[in-house]
């Protein structure tokens, strides 16, 4: 089946219990298997502007490029097009946000985190910058598949603070990479094989700062049959625990195989498509 038939996507966002406005942006496009979540930062409404630019650049550009390209093909430098598209467009989003921030004083210093996934050929390419996360529930195992670009994560990696103690840290909100604050950005990119039954969660730190990973995993496991309810429940859990930040989630459930067609017919039809 094609990716649109194979995956189910839902998203939800809330400004939380404390903040007056929502600086998170989420977007998804099932037809090309794309999910994007961004958590903006900056004064006044600049955070919303930055995260809004990021999700719209990624979704419009990637959708447009995939009208004539197949993500599983390789480009001239031997890289999969799906991966290359994510990288190029995170950079493009960075350039747009940066130039808006430099040219307009009210947007000065704005930036955003980003986590984006592209599903194709039974795989998932993930790009991320900052501390927005992607998790995977496979069978009973719930784990993160991105590593935050944050001071705290670097302290954990450096062995200065244990993972268990990290929750007690007061240095939670310091990201070491963000989109739009410098002329250039380097997104982190990985591809993961996908299995039927997997559930992927993209979230802003408003979820994982307020709710323990174990509780997020348990909720997803119990409510895996009803994805919209699972999304609602995750937001409720963050807000019931205080909801001190904006909280956004995208859930993707893999219901079937979506291997790219490989026979001569596929090649022919792709040739016609070009």
């Amino acid at each position: 089946m094609n990716v649109q038939e194979a995956i189910e996507i839902v998203s939800q966002t809330s400004s939380g219990m404390v903040r007056s406005h929502n600086e998170d942006s989420v977007i998804y496009d099932a037809s090309c298997g794309l999910v994007v979540l961004a958590d903006g930062m900056g004064g006044y409404n600049a955070g919303e502007v930055a995260s809004g630019i990021a999700v719209s650049v990624l979704s419009t550009e990637i959708k447009h490029r995939l009208e004539s390209l197949r993500p599983e093909d390789k480009n001239e430098s031997g890289e999969e097009i799906g991966v290359a598209l994510l990288r190029e467009n995170v950079r493009k989003a960075n350039a747009s946000i940066y130039s808006a921030a430099v040219s307009q004083p009210q947007y000065s210093g704005m930036g955003t985190t980003i986590v984006a996934g592209l599903f194709y050929d039974n795989r998932l390419a993930v790009a991320h910058v900052g501390d927005s996360r992607m998790y995977r529930l496979r069978g009973e195992t719930f784990e993160t598949i991105t590593r935050d670009h944050s001071l705290l994560q670097e302290q954990i990696d450096g062995g200065m603070i244990s993972k268990e103690d990290a929750r007690l840290s007061k240095n939670k909100n310091l990201v070491t990479r963000a989109v739009g604050i410098d002329a250039e950005v380097e997104p982190e990119l990985h591809t993961h094989p996908v299995q039927t039954g997997d559930i992927y969660l993209l979230c802003s730190d408003g979820l994982n700062d307020m709710v323990e990973d174990d509780d997020i995993g348990t909720a997803l496991q119990m409510l895996r049959a009803n994805l919209p309810l699972a999304a609602t429940r995750l937001i409720e859990m963050a807000n019931d625990n205080g909801g001190r930040d904006n909280v956004s989630v995208i859930l993707v459930k893999v219901n079937g195989d979506f291997a790219a067609p490989r026979g001569w017919l596929a090649k022919l039809s792709s040739w016609f498509k070009h």
Binding site: G159, M160, T176
Partner: protein, 287 residues
């Protein structure tokens, strides 16, 4: 605002110290930042490392050791209101950011960017790059950031910190159900975790028919599913303002007091009757 240590002996406050340096030492000799002139205190007894808002205490191989909240420690990640004991002296660690944040707008908690990344070498030794630059809407943090690199370097030497495990046992186990909170704090006062809103009073469901008739289930978890997966499932959620039932899957929806529910969550009242996949059960509050 920087964290503080309040030095006292026999309940009398002697002095207050602000943790405004990345490394502060405690000892008997006069060159220490916190001097305690007492023979039970070693020349250089202990050190406190501060990275932005986090502080770590380390015993510098002192003769008589360091206690935190009654337990001997070598290294310790300090939490608000921890009591450090050195000989007869007590140092109370105060870092009540929560209160300060509530008072001072929400700017404090916003995500900020450390412009230049702190590079970690493969061996885990942090190689600090100057994290200069601008933090959106956040002047205060810039000052603390300037202190960062030397701190990280000093970590190379000090290694890993862990909170003292005995603290966990200080939690009376009886309280566990009442704290059906998503956080399991490992310290008695865990200020970094958000204030927990009071959970709804404890309730239970009792099965009224079928093979499990009479069986009772306490609703201690925040989320409990009822029914058969693939056939009919509903979820009971425990929230600060009460319990709710929501349909999860299956063609048939659960009924509440004889009335079939829709997709929306419904709040449960004392002695409501739930019907699900042919099983009847009664919901009631236990307290």
């Amino acid at each position: 605002m920087a964290a503080k240590l309040i030095l006292s002996m026999d309940g009398a406050v002697l002095k207050e110290y602000t943790l405004n340096k990345e490394r502060m030492t405690i000892g008997r000799k006069p060159h220490n930042d916190i001097v305690i002139d007492n023979l039970a205190v070693s020349g250089e007894h202990a050190a406190i490392l501060t990275i932005l808002n986090d502080s770590f205490l380390e015993d510098l191989d002192s003769t008589n050791g360091v206690m935190v909240n009654g337990a001997q420690i070598k290294k310790h990640f300090l939490q608000n209101s921890d009591v450090v004991e050195i000989g007869k002296y007590k140092l109370k660690y105060m870092n009540d950011q929560q209160g300060q944040q509530a008072a001072a707008a929400d700017d404090f908690e916003k995500t900020m960017v450390l412009r230049a990344p702190i590079k970690m070498q493969p061996g885990g030794a942090p190689q600090a790059a100057a994290p200069l630059g601008k933090v959106p809407g956040m002047e205060a943090a810039m000052k603390t950031q300037a202190n960062l690199p030397p701190v990280l370097q000093s970590y190379e030497r000090t290694g890993k910190f862990e909170t003292a495990k005995p603290q966990a046992a200080a939690h009376p186990p009886v309280q566990a159900p009442a704290h059906a909170a998503p956080f399991a704090p490992s310290a008695p006062a865990a200020p970094a975790t958000p204030a927990q809103p009071a959970a709804a009073a404890l309730a239970a469901v009792q099965i009224l028919n079928g093979p499990n008739i009479g069986k009772e289930l306490d609703l201690v978890k925040n989320l409990i599913t009822l029914g058969k997966p693939g056939v009919q499932v509903a979820v009971l959620t425990r929230r600060p303002h009460g319990y709710f039932i929501t349909h999860v899957e299956g063609a048939a929806y659960p009924a509440l007091n004889g009335k079939t529910l829709d997709e929306q969550p419904h709040q449960l009242n004392d002695h409501d009757i739930i019907e699900l996949a042919g099983i009847k059960m009664e919901f009631y509050f236990k307290e």
